[in-house]
Symmetry: C2
Subunit: 347 residues, 2 copies
DNA sequence: TCGCAAGAATGAAACGATTCATAATCGGAG
DNA sequence: CTCCGATTATGAATCGTTTCATTCTTGCGA
């Protein structure tokens, strides 16, 4: 049923080489021949077989992207940015979610490796990068996304998560909170660890401020809800007066849980800061103060670094964006609607 | 750098055929040979070349999924369902977003066709299905998702959108609204047209209820915001007293826009119903009444139909799920927190 | 008319895994 | 000790595209 260049060649009365040239270097072929071949292609409904093409080329025209969670709008936006930046170059982005599981991540890498992807963008689950190192040595350019490369051995596009954690918690301290809960996990995820470290940095300078970590199994709405319920179960006097969630999904889950107790108010009783500033944060039941990361730009930049890496044997390059605290009702309450004080405020 | 079966064969002192057998039918190979080959593979870091494998096989082990918007959580969930259902079968889902553009959709189909995908799941932009028909005739099973096949010529998994539109608007009528605005578009998208049709059905029986359609260019938050602002600009007396948005993203945009006018209240002045019941609907600034579709299940079922279609030459099969109205604050106001009246209510 | 350079077209070889008809090997029955 | 069937292993052929060293055409100047 499916026709090949050979069929097209026969139909057009030319050689297979010529058909290939029409497809790939039309400037090498005379106009009349091009037309004849094009007509034959049309008539036969010929469609290039990508597998054969790749086999010959040795590499695919696909770039693998492994993220922690394909349902998290932050990563969706990141993927969108990568995709867009990739279109013109004629590449395709193959997206996979590791669901924060090392096994799933390994399976995706297997898949991408068998696919001979032209490059790999990854937000790794574990800190161990040996497999990525091997991959790169085998000739596949690798760029870490949303995550720095501590030893600078990889190119990476990230946001300063320590700083992000710091400004989030500093903000909570600024509005007078003393008993701060950090929720997020597992800590094996670099981003989570860094944000927590930033939180510690901020509290370190204040002897009267306590920071307690609640570990989650994943960065999802339902985990947020779970921890939220746990916090609700604590006697009112012992509850934290502020929560810093490692991402917005967790924070939204917390909002949902806290809404169950109608006498508890955000931010009066508990202030809340999220992370990522996904689109839904500003439209949340309680508009969420959050640390914004430029998701789309991260994706686009990662592709750029990848291309550069694929070009020559560049030294790895680190791009670090600065996070930006967006304050809203969940920490400022009514005053969120008033003029901002140097910090960006959005309603 | 990359090694082939030939290298492995040499290293293990066997023939290429045997290596292939170890990989694909180990039961045909003696244990000792398996071990020798496995060791060689390990030593060489051999990774199967998928392109070569596919070339020989004629088809890839990939299933293409084309959705309208990769950033819409509804489709993300749908993709997740498909992915999950596909894993065991050893297939991969390749996800692409058409962004509601026919050109982009065509480009994705080109890509998938060159890839010789094993099957195609698609939520088409246009009503014209001729290309899909051709694709199927060429041997690629096709299943429509989130969209019925009016002439029953394709297998499809959908939700009864007419009914969904009807219950949404009936609910608005039940709570006493008379001037209802439908927002959504373009109408060339089947789902949107169906939901509107359902809305008309509901209003038809009530002479005193008016239905006005506001056409959007896309089903996104920003388009929702735009229409919301338009509605705000209308003199208070002429404004609709209810809005039915064709999806939740639009509805969230409307909420954001209406929030600009602090004297206008949801649902008192304008009630609002969305569609899809994405996770964020319940956590929205105004918890959103919405028509729920079982996104994950749709994806999973679509894969099942696809497999069946790929098996024998089945007659096309239509699976239609029933939508479910979830009522929340955006239509019921305070009473949303009270006991439900037969209709599912969630807070 | 001949020779020649530039332009166009050719087709065999190569990419790497899989298949399958054929060959080798082995163990046990007679 | 042979022979036979069953179990394993072999390797050439194949999938479809691209590449590239060759060959074939042209048109034109000498």
């Amino acid at each position: 049923m499916a026709s090949s260049v050979r069929d097209v060649a026969r139909e057009a009365g030319v050689s297979v080489g010529t058909v290939s040239n029409v497809l790939n270097r039309p400037e090498k072929v005379s106009p009349s021949t091009i037309e004849r071949v094009t007509a034959a292609i049309e008539r036969l409904g010929f469609v290039r077989n990508d597998a054969a093409r790749q086999l010959r080329a040795g590499r695919s025209r696909t770039i693998g992207l492994v993220v922690l969670d394909t349902r998290n709008p932050f990563f969706t936006d990141l993927a969108h940015g990568a995709q867009a930046r990739t279109l013109d170059a004629g590449f395709t982005v193959l997206l996979g979610g590791s669901d924060e599981s090392s096994e799933r991540e390994a399976a995706l890498l297997d898949l991408f490796e068998e696919h001979r992807v032209a490059g790999l963008l990854i937000s790794p689950v574990r800190t161990d990068l040996s497999r990525l190192r091997r991959l790169r040595e085998a000739g596949t350019p690798v760029v870490l996304v949303d995550r720095g490369s501590s030893d600078l051995s990889f190119s990476s596009v990230s946001v300063d998560d320590v700083e992000g954690g710091r400004v989030a918690v500093q903000h909570l301290i600024d509005i007078g909170r003393k008993r701060i809960a950090f929720i997020g996990g597992p800590l094996s995820i670099e981003q989570v660890a860094q944000r927590f470290k930033g939180a510690q940095t901020a509290t370190a300078a204040h002897a009267d401020v306590a920071l307690v970590a609640h570990s989650t199994n994943a960065l999802t709405v339902s985990e947020g809800r779970r921890i939220g319920e746990q916090i609700l179960a604590v006697p009112a006097g012992d509850r934290p007066d502020a929560i810093f969630a490692a991402n917005d999904l967790l924070a939204l889950g917390v909002i949902q849980a806290l809404a169950l107790n109608r006498s508890l108010r955000i931010p009066d009783d508990i202030a809340l800061v999220g992370y990522d500033d996904i689109d839904f944060a500003s439209a949340a039941a309680v508009p969420l103060t959050s640390v914004r990361q430029p998701a789309t730009e991260i994706g686009a930049t990662a592709i750029e670094l990848l291309m550069r890496e694929a070009g020559g044997d560049h030294a790895p390059e680190q791009v670090v964006f600065q996070p930006q605290l967006i304050t809203r009702f969940s920490t400022l309450g009514q005053s969120a609607h008033e003029a901002s004080r140097g910090q960006p405020t959005e309603v």
